[in-house]
């Protein structure tokens, strides 16, 4: 029996839009175990991205608590959150957010360098190899195709060996076979470094590769799947 690593308690996020209140998240209770691979699916606008942002400490919930790796996010200040993200979380966003000033290699090792550490060159090489980014190592983001940018973002999320990888449709720009390759890689690496993955996807095949599938509808979890121990 392994421990949970992510836990939310009646998590709510409301947006005020004029007179309307958009309930992006409306009371989410979620438990994710260590080393679990969870896929989140749901309709567009159902609140998947919002949930992921809350888990990564990028946004503040309207109500409720988020615990990650034993730490309560609402109790942290901005700096602690930044350091938390740098060390614990690897993000892959829906729209691939790379630092335009830095080339591919620099983008990938950026969180490591922010921590003042020397990147593990061999490991980075390996990831570049698998993600087919070897020859783009020195290219700047604005010269990359959409898929290449996404792969760079994935490489970055893996490099700092975070305990959790939060991926928001990481394969949206890739063709089917390439997407499957990337997810398989993600899974292998995660296994090796005992990482937890929470991945949002619209692709049913990809969702099937996960340990568990969570359905979200109108800001609520409607089906959390069955928790089972590892493989």
């Amino acid at each position: 029996m392994s421990q949970w690593i992510v836990k939310t308690e009646s998590l709510k996020k409301y947006y005020m839009l004029g007179k309307h209140t958009v309930k992006a998240l409306d009371g989410v209770d979620l438990l994710v175990k260590e080393r679990e691979f969870v896929a989140v699916i749901g309709k567009s606008g159902s609140g998947k991205s919002t949930l992921l942002h809350m888990l990564g400490g990028l946004d503040v919930p309207t109500e409720g608590e988020v615990f990650v790796d034993g730490q309560k996010l609402s109790g942290m200040n901005r700096n602690q959150l930044a350091i938390f993200r740098r060390r614990k979380v690897g993000f892959v966003f829906q729209s691939y957010n790379l630092v335009p000033d830095l080339n591919v290699y620099e983008n990938i090792v950026f969180p490591v360098e922010l921590d003042g550490e020397v990147p593990d060159r061999e490991f980075v090489e390996e990831i570049l190899q698998v993600l087919h980014l070897k020859e783009k190592e020195e290219a700047l983001p604005n010269t990359l195709s959409g898929g290449q940018q996404q792969r760079t973002a994935i490489a970055r999320a893996l490099t700092s060996k975070p305990s959790i990888i939060l991926a928001d449709e990481p394969t949206g720009n890739l063709d089917t076979s390439a997407s499957h390759d990337v997810i398989r890689l993600l899974k292998t690496v995660a296994k090796r470094f005992q990482q937890t993955i929470i991945l949002i996807t619209h692709d049913n095949d990809i969702a099937q590769m996960a340990d568990r599938i969570i359905h979200i509808e109108d800001g609520k979890i409607v089906k959390a799947g069955e928790m089972h121990d590892g493989e």
Binding site: L58, A82, F93, P100, F110
Partner: protein
């Protein structure tokens, strides 16, 4: 169709201005500030020009550039036909009124002025004139003041009065005068103007330096030193004659150059700011301009659209700047001119000159700056192709870099950012450096001017007390204000370090062929209007009426100081034992080598039996030793020698130089003044005080410093505006990037650190430019205005202050801007914002 087009473009221009409010405000501020500067400088310049002219005219009492003492027919002819000369006005000194029926001791000069002088040269200095210039012998043109001096206050035009007139030969005539006119204005008003008819019979020759004053007005506004020299040579002056140029327009040439320099730097700063704002705005709005073309706007229309925006901003800014300039000018110009050497009180107030040309020139210069500054960005906007616009992604790096840099990531990123857009970086650096350089230049020159203007007392003493009665012609009126008891009281004061008296007595120097004959010849040629040959016989026989000799005694301190300034060595022992003496040169054309070793024999005044002979050991030109009135031959001996030579009652102290224990000791000065106040002759003392002098210099300079700093601040402000605008735009563009980095775990501290480093690069860069280019330019300007050979030194205090200020500004502004950006929402919200 055309018209409709124009309307639409105009509307779009207004909309664009309103939409980019921040940009519009900055551009407006830039134009307004610089046109304010340009307008102010032009107004100050033209007012200064007018006022220096007016001041010269009023102080001199007439409009002329040079005056020649005496003038032969030949010289006058040469003057009048010289092509550089615009006019020649003649004034002849014609004796004086000794007494009138109203006042027994009237003592008022009379002069004759020719038509040119009276009608042309004097009229700008006159405020009113009634009646006409005298024609008849008994007619006089007067002022109220002159009438008062003569005790004739109540007389009017047409009234007659009796007066004793002393003519050039010294003959007194009891005459009846008639007032034919009264004038008022500036210049010497204590004088009667007389007719040519009377002048011709007064016994004076115009060609003599005693009477003739030939006023020359040159066609040119400025005469260079060389031109003055040439003209002087052309006139072939004889020994007694002098040609004196009024300290006028030429002296202010450096000030005009300075003003032009300020206008140029202002324009340059404004240009940089306008260019940069427009450039940034075009670069950030490529999509917008591409879109305009996609929807069918022609390139010409786009260029018109932008030019229209600049025109609206430019004219509004110029107007605001000029209005501000008008307001400020009215308040401050008198103060500024005061510090440039215009004495408003003496010339009856400053009239601010706001010539239409000044407005026009300001508009022209500001307009040109706006036009030149926006030309390139407009061309850039026009050249954007619709396709490019669709693909365009901000101005992020164009080429891929080869190497991954070394060093800390934050340093690397900051450096990258600094070097990314070199043009922008250069513009910012230049505009910051311009402000810094002007500041550097101002403080350096003001500092050196400070050293220049302090003219201290002889021997750098704190206070010198003078016996003013010795200045009176009539030696019977000389009083013994200061004696050894008085000196003792001064020395007794605890705040006094030393007090050096100068003993003074009249003597006779009998004729002898070796020395005194030669000396007197030179003396007469230089100072007297009689020729020496005239009086030589009476001098020789000892019946010369005037007493022209005096002797002064100095103490050891003064001897040491005096001999330091001489070219030759003076034997101390011989001087103090009474064997040798020094002579005051008195402007005479005699070489020291001619006199050295010769002997001068003197006797007590009216006591030919008391005889003493000294060997001449040297000559001094130091006019501290100029005795009571100018026309005296002064022999300098030691105080003890003097006391031994003459009886006490013949010796007075002409001045006492006092040094305080502490320099600028106000308490000591107060006590000295009290001591003087206790004397029965308190009114007959005069003094020169180092404290007073210092205060005067400080007062004059205080203003100059403030104005200089104001100018530097306005320019620095433009530079800072430029920097602020760039930083704001830059951070706005990068805010998503920052959010992304934050999402990846960059802390606030790391972001701030990066911004500080970027700021430091700018500070260091602009300081480097200011330190090299700025110092170079400062040096050049310094050399151009450095008359006194003050060594070039950049003042450390202000420079340190400036360095600290620029470091703070460069690092605080980005932090400040960043804080306002970072406050806006959570990381994810900021990541969502795309431009």
């Amino acid at each position: 169709m055309e018209n409709n087009n124009k309307k639409i473009i105009c509307r779009m221009a207004m909309r664009a201005l309103r939409y980019n409010r921040r940009r519009s405000i900055l551009l407006f501020a830039a134009v307004a500030l610089s046109s304010f500067m340009i307008f102010s400088v032009f107004t100050i310049g033209s007012t200064y020009y007018k006022m220096t002219r007016l001041q010269n005219i009023r102080m001199n009492g007439a409009d002329f550039d040079a005056v020649m003492y005496g003038g032969s027919e030949e010289q006058l002819e040469k003057c009048k036909t010289d092509e550089d000369v615009r006019a020649v006005g003649l004034v002849g000194v014609a004796g004086y009124i000794e007494e009138t029926e109203g006042d027994k001791t009237a003592n008022l000069g009379t002069v004759w002025a020719d038509e040119t002088f009276w009608n042309e040269m004097m009229s700008p200095a006159r405020t009113s004139v009634e009646g006409t210039y005298p024609q008849e012998k008994e007619e006089v043109m007067v002022t109220r003041k002159a009438l008062k001096t003569c005790g004739l206050e109540d007389r009017q035009i047409g009234d007659s009065f009796r007066a004793v007139y002393v003519d050039g030969k010294g003959q007194k005539k009891d005459m009846e005068f008639r007032i034919c006119g009264i004038w008022d204005g500036y210049g010497d008003k204590n004088v009667f103007y007389i007719s040519k008819a009377l002048y011709d019979t007064c016994g004076y020759e115009f060609s003599s330096v005693v009477s003739g004053r030939c006023h020359i007005d040159f066609a040119k506004t400025f005469l260079t030193e060389k031109e003055q020299q040439e003209f002087q040579e052309k006139m072939k002056l004889d020994k007694q004659q002098a040609l004196i140029f009024t300290e006028g327009m030429a002296a202010s040439i450096p000030i005009y150059f300075g003003m032009i320099g300020i206008v140029m730097i202002t324009c340059f700063c404004a240009y940089l700011l306008i260019y940069n704002i427009m450039y940034l705005s075009v670069a950030g709005d490529v999509r917008y301009y591409g879109l305009l073309q996609t929807v069918g706007m022609t390139k010409k229309q786009i260029s018109t659209l932008m030019k229209r925006q600049m025109m609206i901003l430019g004219s509004a800014g110029t107007l605001a700047g000029v209005l501000l300039g008008v307001a400020v000018s009215i308040g401050f110009i008198p103060v500024i001119l005061g510090s440039l050497g215009i004495n408003a009180d003496k010339i009856g107030g400053v009239q601010i000159s706001m010539h239409p040309l000044v407005f026009l020139l300001t508009a022209l210069v500001a307009g040109c700056t706006v036009w030149i500054g926006s030309r390139k960005p407009v061309r850039m906007a026009v050249q954007i192709s619709p396709v490019e616009a669709a693909r365009y992604r901000a101005s992020y790096g164009k080429k891929s870099r080869k190497k991954t840099g070394k060093g800390k990531i934050i340093w690397r990123m900051a450096k990258e950012q600094f070097l990314k857009d070199r043009k922008k970086t250069t513009v910012i650096l230049l505009s910051l450096a311009a402000g810094l350089s002007v500041f550097l230049c101002m403080v350096t020159i003001i500092e050196s001017q400070g050293a220049r203007t302090i003219v201290s007392n002889y021997m750098d003493m704190d206070l010198v007390l003078y016996n003013d009665t010795l200045k009176k012609e009539d030696s019977d009126k000389w009083e013994k204000l200061m004696d050894d008891r008085f000196l003792g009281e001064i020395r007794h004061n605890g705040g006094i370090k030393q007090a050096n008296p100068l003993y003074f007595a009249r003597i006779d120097v009998p004729w002898e062929p070796e020395f005194s004959d030669q000396w007197m010849r030179e003396f007469y040629e230089m100072w007297m209007y009689e020729s020496y040959d005239h009086v030589r016989e009476s001098y020789r026989s000892g019946t010369l009426e005037d007493n022209l000799f005096c002797i002064v005694g100095i103490d050891e301190d003064e001897f040491d100081y005096l001999t330091e300034t001489l070219n030759t060595k003076v034997n101390r022992k011989k001087f103090f034992s009474g064997k040798t003496c020094l002579l005051y040169q008195n402007g005479l054309d005699i070489a020291e080598s001619d006199l050295k070793g010769k002997r001068v024999t003197c006797t007590g005044y009216g006591d030919p039996d008391n005889r003493r002979t000294f060997e001449i050991a040297g000559l001094t030109g130091e006019n501290y030793y100029m005795a009571a009135s100018q026309s005296r031959m002064t022999i300098i001996v030691s105080a003890d020698t003097l006391k031994e030579f003459l009886p006490d009652d013949q010796i007075t102290i002409s001045r006492i130089a006092v040094r305080y224990e502490r320099e600028y000791d106000r308490q000591a000065e107060k006590e000295m003044m009290e001591l003087v106040g206790k004397s029965p002759y308190a009114k007959d003392f005069s003094s020169t005080s180092k404290i007073e002098e210092k205060e005067m210099v400080e007062e004059a300079q205080g203003n100059l410093t403030e104005i200089g700093i104001c100018i530097a601040l306005i320019l620095a402000f433009i530079g800072i505006l430029n920097y602020m605008n760039t930083v704001t735009g830059n951070l706005q563009n990068r805010r998503v990037e920052f959010a992304v980095m934050e999402s990846m775990g960059m802390t606030q501290g790391q972001i701030r650190g990066m911004l500080i480093i970027e700021g430091l690069f700018f500070a260091a860069g602009s300081l480097c430019i200011a330190a090299t280019l700025g110092t170079g330019i400062t040096w050049l300007i310094f050399q151009a205005v450095n008359y006194r050979n003050v060594p070039f030194a950049v003042p450390t205090g202000p420079v340190l202050l400036m360095t600290a200020a620029i470091l703070l500004i460069c690092t605080l502004i980005p932090l400040f801007v960043w804080n306002s950006i970072a406050k806006k929402g959570s990381v994810i919200e900021r990541m969502r914002q795309t431009k």
